[in-house]
């Protein structure tokens, strides 16, 4: 049988966890081997050591904030990413629809937003830090500025996909421009915007962690860069896993919203 016709069938759930198990095993063996040579090894801490560190992060209140550090860091980071993505989504939706639906505004704005989208966001981080200082707004702004151009262009593209016939048809039903945007363009664009948002999550986390590493006093990115100085791999590794899990959960929640709120969307394809 050809490989392209071979499905996992009922073994599919089992297959999914195989790479994770292998990664864990390889790490375990490697950590074990290093500790056999040097019991003080910090590069690959054992699972026991990681467990201990996680316990401290989760259970013990920090002297300053009186909350466990993982909690403080998670709240700080999630707030920043949510605000940044929220702003980017609203801007992307509005400008994307305006540029995609109204030819007059497309002529005016489209080349400009195309040019802006080419600015590497990290390159303007110094500018943001100068303008906003070390406050939250600089980090939120970096995420928003980093993600918004992609959302704008993606939404513009999707607004322009609506067939000419469909737009003529809705005009023959007596629709005004505003009504066309509200009842035809918006529903068409919304699930696609959420899809684009899912694709932006990776970039958003990248900007967040960069900003936190450079200028912050709490947050997930701040912590892992701080711990690097002391080579505390037993903190860094679970933090990276935690960030990955959070990113996965955000993606999953967005996918769920799309499925629930726009049941027609997957059927359409």
């Amino acid at each position: 049988m050809r490989l392209i016709n071979l499905n996992a069938g009922r073994f599919s759930p089992l297959l999914k966890i195989v790479p994770f198990v292998i990664l864990g095993l390889v790490y375990w063996i490697a950590a074990d081997a290093r500790h056999a040579l040097n019991p003080e090894d910090k590069l690959l801490p054992t699972f026991e050591a990681i467990g201990e560190a996680v316990k401290t992060m989760v259970m013990e209140p920090d002297e300053l904030t009186e909350e466990p550090i993982l909690y403080t860091d998670t709240v700080a980071s999630l707030t920043r990413i949510a605000q940044g993505l929220g702003i980017a989504t609203v801007v992307g939706l509005i400008l994307g629809i305006v540029q995609g639906t109204l030819p007059l505004f497309r002529s005016l704005l489209s080349p400009f937003s195309a040019a802006v989208s080419l600015i590497p966001p990290i390159a303007i981080l110094p500018i943001l830090l100068i303008i906003f200082g070390l406050e939250e707004s600089a980090k939120v702004a970096l995420i928003a500025i980093g993600v918004a151009p992609f959302l704008i262009r993606d939404t513009q593209q999707h607004s322009m996909e609506l067939s000419e016939e469909l737009l003529i048809k809705v005009q023959t039903l007596g629709a005004s421009t505003w009504q066309i945007i509200l009842r035809v363009v918006l529903p068409h664009v919304m699930p696609r915007l959420l899809d684009a948002l899912r694709l932006s999550l990776g970039a958003a986390w990248l900007f967040l962690i960069t900003a936190e590493a450079i200028a912050s006093s709490e947050g997930l990115g701040y912590r892992i860069f701080l711990m690097r100085r002391y080579m505390e791999m037993d903190v860094i590794l679970p933090y990276v896993a935690w960030i990955t899990l959070l990113a996965f959960l955000m993606d999953w929640i967005l996918a769920m919203i799309i499925r629930r709120a726009f049941p027609w969307y997957r059927k359409e394809k």
């Binding site: 048809k169 005004s176 726009f262």
Partner: protein
């Protein structure tokens, strides 16, 4: 005064003449079928009636008023390509036109007016025979059903003229003849004034009360775009033949065309 007057209408794109010297009038309740070779401008003519394109010269008057130069609710349209709103269920697709008329800002009706609009739309859904599928999304409907829905969507706005651009072109022969029956029935029930572009000569004769044949009269082989097409044959068909539609006309119809 005639319902629809076409007065010396020309359509040109730069040096290309698509249509020239169109001059005719249409009475209320006529079902005009438009045939002619590909690229002879019959769809262009339909688009001008729709307001999607405007005449380069001449005027089109509907009830004595010039047509507005963009599509509007006085002219309904059914395209060959299904133009349904994928995010709305069948019934909501028909309600949309009424809702937008009702609510300028939200384009959506609520409460008692929504119920009233729903009833009106449901009647239209029944008229095209889709009551079983009223709560399905367009993607769950067959091609024929989607086209029925498209017609219901247009008719619920009670347009002064209904424009059909090869509406059955993408359908299989079975649903095609069902749709012809349906459109014929709707034309009788609602007293529609309709224009239909078709490639099917038999269909043009069976459905129409007036057959307009588009073609080029003059042709310059050195400059093929110098002359446009016009109506070369304007055939009035028997309005009362409708009941037992079909075969008896077909044979000599072909000879007229030839």
């Amino acid at each position: 005064m005639s319902y629809l007057q076409i007065r010396n209408v020309w359509k040109t794109y730069e040096d290309n003449v698509i249509l020239e010297k169109l001059n005719f009038t249409i009475e209320k309740g006529e079902f005009c079928t438009l045939i002619g070779p590909s690229g002879c401008g019959k769809s262009t003519f339909l688009r001008m009636l729709l307001g999607q394109e405007n005449p380069s010269r001449g005027t089109i008057l509907l009830e004595g008023e010039p047509l507005s130069n963009e599509p509007g609710s006085d002219r309904g349209v059914v395209f060959q390509k299904y133009t349904l709103f994928p995010h709305l269920r069948a019934l909501e697709n028909v309600m949309l036109g009424l809702e937008m008329e009702h609510s300028v800002f939200l384009g959506k009706a609520f409460g008692s007016s929504r119920r009233r609009i729903k009833e009106e739309a449901m009647e239209m859904i029944k008229a095209v025979g889709l009551e079983q599928s009223a709560h399905k999304y367009p993607s769950e409907l067959s091609g024929g059903m989607q086209q029925r829905l498209s017609i219901a969507q247009a008719l619920v706005k009670k347009p002064k003229i209904l424009l059909l651009d090869e509406p059955f072109g993408a359908l299989d022969p079975g649903s095609r003849s069902d749709m012809q029956e349906l459109v014929h029935g709707l034309w009788q029930t609602y007293g529609l004034t309709a224009f239909m572009v078709t490639h099917d000569v038999k269909e043009a004769f069976e459905l129409g009360t007036r057959l307009l044949v588009f073609d080029k009269v003059r042709n310059d082989p050195h400059s093929p775009n110098a002359y446009g097409a016009t109506v070369v044959n304007d055939i009035k068909l028997d309005k009362n033949k409708r009941k037992n539609k079909g075969e008896e006309h077909v044979d000599h119809d072909e000879t007229i065309i030839a």
